[in-house]
Amino acid sequence: MTEIRLKTGLADMLKGGVIMDVTDAKQASIAQEAGAVAVMALERVPADIRASGGVARMASIKKIKEIMETVDIPVMAKCRIGHFAEAQILQALGVDFIDESEVLTPADDRFHVDKHAFDVPFVCGCRNLGEALRRIGEGAALIRTKGEAGTGDIVHAVRHMRTVQQDIKTLTTLRGDELMAKSKELGAPYSLVKYVAENGKLPVPNFAAGGVATPADASLMMQLGAESVFVGSGIFKSSDPEKRARAIVLAVTHYKDAKTLAEISEELGEGMRGIDSSKISPEDELQSRGW
């Protein structure tokens, strides 16, 4: 078992960067060339998973290997929620981070993976503080908002990030004797609730994901408190992936500088068409997978 400090250490190194979804070696090269700090190896980007339906599983081993051989930045890969055997295979392959992801079809409707049992670090999605702390309790070294993947609609990522931040702020205002009741209400471990109340932040980095499609979206999430941004379909579903990838990288570094953001947002071509997520029926929502 690897000490959590070594796992969150890699998450720390990814701060202020962009992690891009890629489905082959060529896309991985484009991502690295654009300045991505890591890539997420996938069979299909979330927009295509959403469109094609069926069961979405861990990417093929051949594809993950090909991507690992192509780039020298960290390579992440997704396993299904609760599918610890997929996670074991990904660890054996040597991927640098595993995303136990709601984008894939869940393998277990009750339990998430025991992430403490692995040497490789895990990232997990959340919609609120309770969910974030449950995943951290299970050993996640990095938390991201779930957002609504594959839509190019930022509203859910914004809601999840604001909710987590507001939940954290609320905790810092409570008296010590109120924390146990809060822990019960959040459904989160007391020790982690106490940590957040005392420190005003999560014990692991907090990134944004799910719906980022433009440099402005990336800046918005950073200004709302994200420490890095995952971009899924937003890059390779746009008309000019090279330019958009570079622009989103620069947007995360210069997120407070609107003048620079205006410059880099020029001549980007068309963004992904996207889906208005309010038109998605609740049973098609990816964010409600996992608890």
Binding site: L10, D12, G16, Q32, D72, P74
Partner: protein, 204 residues
């Protein structure tokens, strides 16, 4: 002594560096630099954090921050690079990929030389006889995360510490480079050595 510390904040664990340096160099001010104009003329130390060397190299080149740091180094400003920062300060990168070396210290480095994240580890770093006096200790914890290795050092490069037979903390004049992350450890041994050497170089 060290009053104005600049932490390069393009990407990586710059926040941990800022916190740790501020705690050690009491009374210092910390500035974050993304663009060249963010470096105040009064800067006396610039820290390059860990992160992804290819991303930091590229983004700093686009804004000209790389050239600004190189000119600060030539002026004598103390420069400290950890992990990705060490890679960028080097004279030569054996497997550069998209990272370009700034050639500020005579070392050759190999990126990700220990392997992937699964090979990241805590190791014991041993200081040279003379420098362990400054640290007040012979050893310290080294946090190695997808770390590079220093495979060659020039004749003017001092090896301050090694680990398993390889140099892991080196210096040439005002440039310090290390392959591990002192900002992620509890102790201040590395900072004490840097402070001691700065004192030697700036007799009051």
């Amino acid at each position: 002594m060290v009053k104005n510390i600049v932490v390069v904040a393009i990407q990586g664990d710059y926040a941990s560096h800022a916190e740790k340096a501020h705690e050690f160099f009491s009374g210092s001010s910390v500035f974050f630099a993304i663009k060249p104009e963010d470096i105040p003329s009064s800067a006396d130390m610039i820290i390059l954090p860990g992160g992804e060397s290819s991303a930091i190299s590229l983004i700093s080149k686009l804004s000209g921050l790389d050239k600004k740091i190189i000119s600060e180094a030539e002026k004598g400003t103390f420069i400290i690079g950890t992990c990705a920062g060490c890679i960028l300060l080097s004279k030569k990168i054996a497997n550069p990929g998209k990272a370009e070396p700034w050639k500020l210290i005579d070392i050759t480095v190999e990126r990700n030389a220990y392997g992937r994240q699964i090979d990241s580890s805590f190791k014991t770093v041993t200081f040279s006889e003379s420098r362990s006096k400054l640290a007040g200790s012979k050893k310290c914890e080294g946090v190695f995360i997808r770390a590079p290795k220093i495979t060659q050092t020039g004749k003017d490069t001092e090896v301050i510490a090694d680990c398993q037979g390889s140099p892991v903390f080196v210096r040439q004049k005002n440039i310090f480079a290390m392959t591990f992350h002192p900002e992620l450890s509890e102790g201040f041994e590395v900072y004490k050595i840097i402070e001691g050497i700065i004192r030697e170089r700036q007799p009051s």
